[in-house]
């Protein structure tokens, strides 16, 4: 029998036992449903995580810190004193800081485009004429970190300009529109040694949406690197922390070189982590969750395997005569076996299509609700990828065919004389 005819006959046999076929498929469908949702949630979760990463970091960036000695944070025994600036903790522990020399050393590493010290700076307050004072963090603007712009153009920020998160704009009485661009806000800094205050008037360059994805979030102002440096220097001048930094971001000149630069920085005696190293736990977490869900789906599929075997055995018994006739008419054993394997494959296909179809439908409908409940904003937790449907349906067809092997062998082995005995 030709392949196409076998497939057609297999499909027809199933249509003649609609209820049974459907019920058997449904068992697989449950597995398909779970796995489809698991894959969609995994894809969505990874997308969400990489959104978080891209709105916080630049993939070319490395976070560099002085190398930590094994016992530097060990409170159980006395630590030897090491020369150089350090952040003191209680109990005789300290964390070393980077000096200007360190920065210069980092700058000389090959493929390093830029070294920015991490300014652990906070403004005393931010205010505007006739408005209250609010606390604010400070961060140099990085164009590679994506954010949603509500007004203005962040682009090439100048030294007397600032980018406001929308939450600040609102409390400072600035509408989220172009008319606020160019308005002046005042940022006050205080010197930690003397308590002297200094006011920096900054023009609003742009207003960005306060994003829950972003660690910069709603309370951090972004201004030019030079301005942040100046503000930081002013605030720590005269303290032991002047010209010392908790760390630095080292920017590679190209994404492809980030890994090499990381190695070079480590070889130079520092700790270095890429953005992915920092956020890697997120992916790991998502993958574990996805794995658990897929495990449940696989369990459902395993259960349905027995369903398929059972159904197909019954089908072989029921159709003993038909099989006997086909064999008497010269159908080869292999073709008889194939007929039943194709039937199993159809069941797998049906179950896979039903399960993943329902999952797609349910997921698409549930997405807005999930996003709302988890306040994910516009991003969706369930992302359905076309390849996952193909993989699930294909995989389940394969599983079904494998489950159909035993019954199909029974059919193929049937003795036509026995099968056609009428007594």
């Amino acid at each position: 029998m030709k392949l196409a005819d076998t497939i057609r006959r297999a499909g027809r046999s199933l249509r003649q036992a609609k209820a049974r076929t459907l019920l058997t498929s449904l068992a697989i469908g449950v597995g398909a449903f779970t796995i489809t949702l698991a894959l969609a949630a995994g894809a969505g979760g990874r997308q969400y995580a990489s959104d978080i990463i891209s709105s916080n970091t630049d993939v070319r960036e490395l976070y560099v810190q002085p190398k930590m000695d094994e016992g530097s944070m060990d409170f159980t025994k006395p630590q030897e004193y090491v020369e150089g600036p350090a952040m003191q903790f209680g109990g005789g522990a300290s964390m070393k800081m980077l000096t200007e020399d360190d920065l210069a050393k980092l700058e000389k590493i090959e493929n390093v485009a830029e070294v920015t010290p991490i300014y652990n700076a906070s403004a005393l307050y931010i205010t505007r004429e006739g408005q209250k004072k609010y606390q604010a963090g400070l961060e140099p603007y990085n164009a590679a970190i994506k954010s949603e712009v509500l007004a203005g153009v962040p682009g090439d920020i100048k030294e007397d300009e600032v980018i406001l998160p929308s939450a600040f704009a609102e409390v400072l009485g600035l509408p989220l529109a172009e008319e606020s661009i160019g308005k002046v806000v005042n940022v006050a800094m205080a010197n930690a040694a003397t308590g002297e205050e200094k006011m920096y008037p900054l023009k609003v360059r742009a207003i960005i949406k306060s994003s829950i994805l972003s660690a910069v979030g709603s309370t951090t102002l972004q201004t030019s690197r030079a301005t942040v440096a100046e503000m930081y220097d002013f605030s720590v001048e005269g303290t032991p922390l002047a010209k010392a930094y908790v760390g630095a971001t080292v920017m590679a000149n190209d994404e492809a070189n980030a890994e090499d630069v990381k190695q070079a920085v480590i070889d130079a005696g520092y700790d270095a982590q890429t953005a992915e190293d920092l956020m890697g736990f997120l992916f790991q977490f998502i993958n574990v969750l996805m794995g658990i869900l897929i495990g449940f789906g696989a369990l459902a599929v395993l259960t349905s395997v027995f369903g398929i075997i059972n159904t197909q055995y019954i089908s072989v018994l029921e159709r003993t005569q038909q099989i006997g006739l086909m064999k008497a008419l010269g159908m080869r054993r292999r073709d008889v076996g194939r007929l039943f394997k194709f039937e199993a494959a159809w069941i797998g296909f049906l179950g896979g299509a039903l399960g993943s179809g329902v999952a797609l439908l349910a997921g698409t409908m549930a997405n807005p609700w999930i996003s709302d409940t988890l306040s994910l904003g516009d991003s969706h937790l369930l992302i359905f990828q076309p390849w996952s449907f193909a993989a699930i349906i294909g995989g389940l067809m394969f599983v079904a065919v494998v489950s159909g092997i035993l019954p199909s062998r029974k059919a193929a082995k049937l003795d036509p004389i026995e099968a056609l005995r009428t007594e």
Partner: protein, 241 residues
């Protein structure tokens, strides 16, 4: 031509052994109509199975058109059956839940006849048994006679050279049975197809060119048409008395 040479078929083993065919030999010329007559358990069905390649006797030869089918591999025997043999059964074995068309199409699909050619052959076979108007009906909705006509259409669809009919009229009333007989013998004469009927009905057997009497796995007698005619007349006379 079918030559059966010294075939022996035993079922079971040792004490339970049952000799279904015991050193059976016969020759059937091409285009003949042959009745294998015997009671149930006489071995007539086993002989049919051996001649059609469904069963393999442990001894002897079955030579069809010069080829010993007992020596063929299973695949080749299957192919031989698909291409050269048509079967008609007492209980029809039509697939009730399939259409008349699909029932007739089955042996053609098995013989790997292309879809285009199948249509013409199915239509022709259905025309030969006058079931053209039922082409799309489900086989289960047919009457007994129609089912057997459908079975005949299925048997002749692939233009076999030998048709085996196992009690073809056994489940039919006499009027319908007559129709089926006419159809079978008509096809046998018209297409010069060898027709082998397995039956325990002497009247049906009497209509064949050749009559093989079988009892306890052995051939009792082989009668040719003219001799047989006289004998049947005698029997009928006996019955009347």
């Amino acid at each position: 031509m079918i030559e059966v040479k010294h075939i022996t078929k035993t079922y079971g083993k040792k004490q339970n052994a049952f000799v279904a065919l015991d050193d059976v030999s016969l020759t059937i010329p091409k285009g003949a109509s042959v009745a294998i007559l015997g009671k149930s358990g006489s071995g007539k069905s086993t002989l049919m199975h051996a001649m059609s390649g469904l069963d393999r006797p442990e001894k002897g030869e079955v030579i069809i058109d010069g080829q010993n089918i007992l020596k063929l591999k299973q695949k080749a025997v299957d192919r031989f059956r698909a291409e050269k043999i048509g079967f008609i059964f007492q209980s029809f074995f039509v697939q009730g839940n399939e259409s008349v068309y699909d029932n007739v199409s089955l042996p053609l699909e098995i013989a790997r006849v292309s879809r285009g050619k199948r249509k013409a052959r199915v239509d022709e076979a259905l025309r030969a048994v006058e079931l053209t108007d039922k082409t799309k009906s489900k086989a289960r909705n047919l009457s007994g006679g129609q089912k057997q006509r459908l079975a005949i259409a299925r048997a002749i669809a692939n233009e076999p050279s030998i048709i085996f009919a196992d009690e073809p009229t056994g489940n039919l009333d006499s009027v319908t049975g007559d129709k089926i007989e006419k159809l079978l013998f008509g096809y046998n004469k018209q297409k010069n197809v060898t027709l082998i009927i397995v039956t325990h009905d002497p009247e049906l057997a009497a209509k064949c060119d050749m009559l093989v009497n079988i009892k306890d796995g052995k051939i009792e007698s082989i009668e040719q048409a003219d001799v047989k005619a006289a004998k049947v007349t005698r029997r009928v006379t006996k019955k009347v008395q």
